[in-house]
């Protein structure tokens, strides 16, 4: 496709034809704030925060849904643009709980970021506020629709990424609310709790229940890893605080899955800290398991395996390796059986 050259904030920028003004600006390193835009979802142009001024265009167009054209002259931070953005933020804050002190998303909230950036406080437009009940009757997601800014990213993620269409806008005007059909809670809908909606929410409207109250966002160390469940090989970030995994968040850089996960990957890793974990070697004595030291247990294993090998030969031993362990664990297990025990009796449940 041909390229087009436009001027953004006085700089010449060349992009492929069809690129939006927003993407052209971002490629040139010029920041434009967005709330409803997401590169992995369809462009919607609903929040209007990305408005810019373009010569010879009426009003202020939303840059996320405006295609860059040859010779276009764009200003991303003119006084008119800044004033419009401030007003948009004031209108959003007019109906937003001033709850940042205890909000789980404090420090990782786009609305908070932009209010700070543009110096906008609440109170500019006194009026009605929502008083929706907080929905926390399921095990995985807490929905506080009072914090929803109606950006629609969750609606599009559910429809476009998961192809499930569980949630959509309901009601009209001030009463507009994102909800499943018949305004039922998620627990009574066909929702499978994949949490894609949570992964795109820019505010504290949708949060992971298990992580509530566990850590401020800036205290969390994120460690990208590969999911231990099915064979798709999704990547995600383990969220760690004080040596404990408190939950999982999506990582858009994941090669296979992007931000998509399923209920198990996103909400099932708490088995790591299950009280049922085995935490010490155990040796069975008189039919009962007794706690043992590593030396004691390893010595016994080595002795017993050695005795069986000496008495009955290498092929009297066999091992099951594991389709849940790492490649390195598996490599060593087969090497151990072949090189140390001397048998090829090693298998795993490739067949299940």
């Amino acid at each position: 496709m041909a390229d087009v050259t436009l001027t953004i904030d006085g700089r010449l920028v060349t992009v492929p034809a069809g690129t939006t003004v927003l993407d052209a600006a971002r490629q040139a390193g010029i920041p434009i704030p967005t709330l409803c835009h997401d590169p992995m979802l369809s462009a919607w142009g609903g929040c209007r925060l990305c408005v810019v001024e373009i010569e010879k265009m009426r009003n202020l167009p939303a840059s996320c849904v405006t295609t860059a054209t040859e010779g276009m002259v764009v200003q991303t931070a003119s006084p008119a643009v800044v004033e419009a953005r401030k007003t948009i933020l004031e209108l959003l804050l007019a109906n937003h709980p001033e709850d940042c002190l205890t909000c789980h998303k404090n420090g990782d909230c786009r609305l908070q970021d932009y209010a700070y950036l543009y110096g906008v406080r609440g109170g500019a437009f006194p009026g009605d506020k929502h008083a929706f009940p907080i929905e926390d009757d399921n095990h995985f997601i807490v929905r506080d629709m009072n914090k929803c800014i109606l950006c629609g990213k969750c609606v599009r993620a559910c429809a476009e990424k998961q192809a499930r269409h569980i949630i959509d806008y309901t009601y009209r005007g001030f009463n507009t609310k994102v909800a499943p059909a018949m305004d039922l809670p998620l627990s009574q809908s066909d929702c499978t709790f994949c949490g894609s909606c949570v992964s795109v929410c820019p505010t504290g409207a949708l949060v992971e229940k298990a992580m509530l109250g566990k850590a401020r966002r800036w205290e969390v160390k994120k460690v990208r890893t590969t999911c231990p469940f099915c064979g798709v090989g999704c990547n995600f970030d383990l969220n760690v605080k004080d040596g404990r995994v408190i939950g999982v968040t999506s990582n858009p850089d994941s090669p296979v899955n992007g931000r998509d996960l399923c209920i198990k990957g996103r909400f099932g890793t708490d088995f790591i800290h299950s009280p049922d974990r085995l935490t010490t070697p155990l040796i069975k004595k008189n039919g009962e398991f007794v706690e043992a030291s590593w030396d004691e247990a390893l010595d016994l294993v080595a002795k017993k395996l050695g005795e069986v090998k000496a008495a009955y030969g290498s092929d009297a031993l066999a091992a099951l390796s594991s389709a849940r362990c790492t490649n390195e664990d598996n490599y060593l297990m087969q090497k151990f059986m072949r090189a140390v025990i001397g048998t090829n009796n090693v298998d795993h449940c490739a067949r299940t």
Binding site: R277, C325, T326
Partner: protein, 549 residues
């Protein structure tokens, strides 16, 4: 794996997950993707919403069937007749890719002679799928530019699993739907690292990279690298190990991260095998049903507590990163194995898992160009023969791993055990969305959400038995018996009861049949004969009546 290895020379997904959204036709057979591989399932649903055609072959009306252009509700265990029937039509109507067949394959005449016998009328009678649907699907598959076959354990967990797989390969080769983006044959692996465990040689017949233990050159290479002499005798598969344990030939076992008592077919046979051992060491993160039989339990660290790699279904080698220190007094599995080896007079000294990976890669041609630095951001799909190689998204692009693709004429093999007067229901098993084998039972949220088995039963049968959703039934096979709650749903056909295998309280595998594919040794989890009786606390247990058919 054995099936695709025979047909193509390599037993792995021929394509990448991204191909799901690039193809024209998805042919999903024996794969409940939205539950077993949910993110891949979402890709499929997304593709369908954008116009990709979808054919689903499954006895159950799985979620994907609701979105399908054609849902082929075949009778369990009739995959081979279905695929042969489609190929019969494709050949009869001259829709096959003659150039591809001539240049890239061998054995076509054998295939043609076999599928000649599978007329649409005969196949309709065997599978239960109407003749006109067979014609429509055969034409759709053959005439789509790109077509992607996706299967999982619904194809492999049969006594004829390998033949089922080879039949899917036959179909793809017949129409040239292989070897390019959007076209191929794709087994989605059930577990996170099945692909990797196979690649690593955790199999009785091959070293890492599928180098045969009875190949003298391969053996010499590993003998040199490991500094020991190695056995040229192919080892035992899991079912054979269990049999040998019962017979007293295998005296000791070392089980790492597996729970055969809960997950292998015919659980009572497995229990008997483990009880027969002189010594059993189990390396685990939880007290599993299998661990209870151990003499020594070595506590392993979970995936969050160690470094390493997993290889996913599309052959992508990706990093596992240590996020926290091992819980309690646990240790990473690789460290435990090193410690045991050292005590047995064979020092294994590795600074960290990266060293193990490098040793493995130096001995494994398909991994030779992979290291932790290269896979840090995006992983790499094998084969990757050298450090300049970008990895391989699509296998068999110009030629098959084995040279020419091999057609095999394959005839119907009925399941080992079919319903009869005494055991009138057909039991089929699988995984549900909310659990992953056994680990997820230890997730507070998931276990609270789906705390117990909900066996699926058709409304007609439920009505005969007098049970409603949430009530309990006793399910009995020739091998065992259990209690389970039922979910009454027309997602299963009359005469079938479908259960998962996640719950030790309703251990489904006490029921399943101890019958295996003779080549792959995969158990037939998908078909067993059972009887189903209403169960009441008061002890009333009326006789089961035959299902309404």
């Amino acid at each position: 794996m054995a099936g695709l290895a025979t047909s193509f020379g390599s037993g792995a997904m021929t394509n990448s997950f991204a191909d799901i959204e690039q193809t024209d036709l998805l042919f999903v057979i024996g794969a409940n993707a939205t539950e077993a591989h949910p993110v891949a399932g979402a890709m499929m649903m997304r593709a369908v919403e954008k116009g990709t055609k979808l054919v689903v072959a499954d006895p159950r009306r799985i979620e994907l069937a609701d979105r399908a252009d054609y849902w082929l509700q075949l009778k369990p265990g009739t995959d081979i007749p279905l695929l042969n029937g489609l190929m019969h039509i494709i050949i009869k109507e001259d829709l096959y890719d003659k150039k591809f067949v001539a240049e890239r394959t061998e054995g076509f005449e054998e295939l043609k002679a076999t599928v000649e016998n599978y007329t649409p009328e005969k196949v309709a009678a065997m599978t239960g799928i109407p003749v006109e649907t067979l014609y429509a699907v055969a034409r759709l598959y053959a005439t789509s530019y790109n077509a992607l076959i996706c299967y999982t354990l619904g194809i492999t967990e049969h006594v004829c699993g390998v033949f089922n797989v080879m039949s899917t390969a036959n179909l793809a080769m017949l129409t040239g739907h292989i070897g390019r983006p959007g076209s191929g044959v794709n087994p989605q692996r059930g577990q996170n690292n099945v692909q990797g465990a196979c690649d690593m040689g955790a199999l009785p017949n091959v070293y890492p990279g599928y180098q045969a233990v009875n190949n003298p050159d391969a053996r010499a290479k590993f003998e040199k690298a490991w500094g020991v002499s190695l056995s040229d005798k192919v080892g035992l598969t899991i079912p054979d190990m269990m049999e040998a344990a019962v017979e007293g030939k295998v005296k000791a076992m070392y089980i790492m991260g597996e729970d055969p008592v809960l997950t292998d077919p015919d659980a009572n046979h497995i229990r008997h095998a483990l009880e027969s051992l002189d010594f059993l060491v189990v390396q685990e993160i939880f007290m599993t049903e299998t661990a209870r039989y151990a003499d020594v339990i070595l506590p392993g660290a979970s995936f969050a507590e160690k470094d390493g790699t997993f290889t996913n279904s599309e052959r992508r080698v990706q990093r596992v990163r240590k996020a926290i220190e091992p819980i309690g007094d646990t240790r990473a599995d690789w460290q435990i194995i090193c410690a045991v080896a050292g005590r047995m007079g064979y020092p294994m000294t590795y600074g960290w898992p990266g060293d193990i990976f490098d040793e493995m890669a130096s001995l494994t041609p398909s991994y030779a160009g992979i290291n932790y630095q290269r896979i840090d951001a995006c992983g790499i799909q094998w084969p990757c023969p050298d450090c300049e190689h970008p990895g391989t998204c699509v296998l068999h692009a110009d030629k098959f791993t084995r040279g020419k693709g091999l057609f095999k004429g394959i005839d119907h093999v009925p399941p080992a055990e079919m319903p009869d007067a005494e055991y009138p229901f057909l039991l089929s098993t699988g995984r549900i969305l909310y659990h992953y084998n056994i680990t997820t039972r230890h997730s507070a949220g998931l276990d609270a959400y789906r705390p117990e088995e909900m066996a699926q039963l058709n409304p007609a049968d439920a009505s005969h038995l007098g049970v409603a959703t949430g009530e309990r039934v006793r399910v009995t096979s020739r091998r065992g018996s259990l209690l389970t709650k039922v979910q009454v749903t027309d997602r299963v056909p009359p005469g079938m009861i479908w259960m998962s295998f996640h719950y030790k309280e309703s251990p489904t595998n006490v029921l399943t049949v101890s019958a295996f594919d003779p080549i792959s040794k995969t158990g037939e989890y998908k078909v067993a004969a059972v009887k189903v009786e209403r169960f009441t606390e008061s002890g009333g247990m009326p006789d089961s009546r035959p299902p309404a058919l």
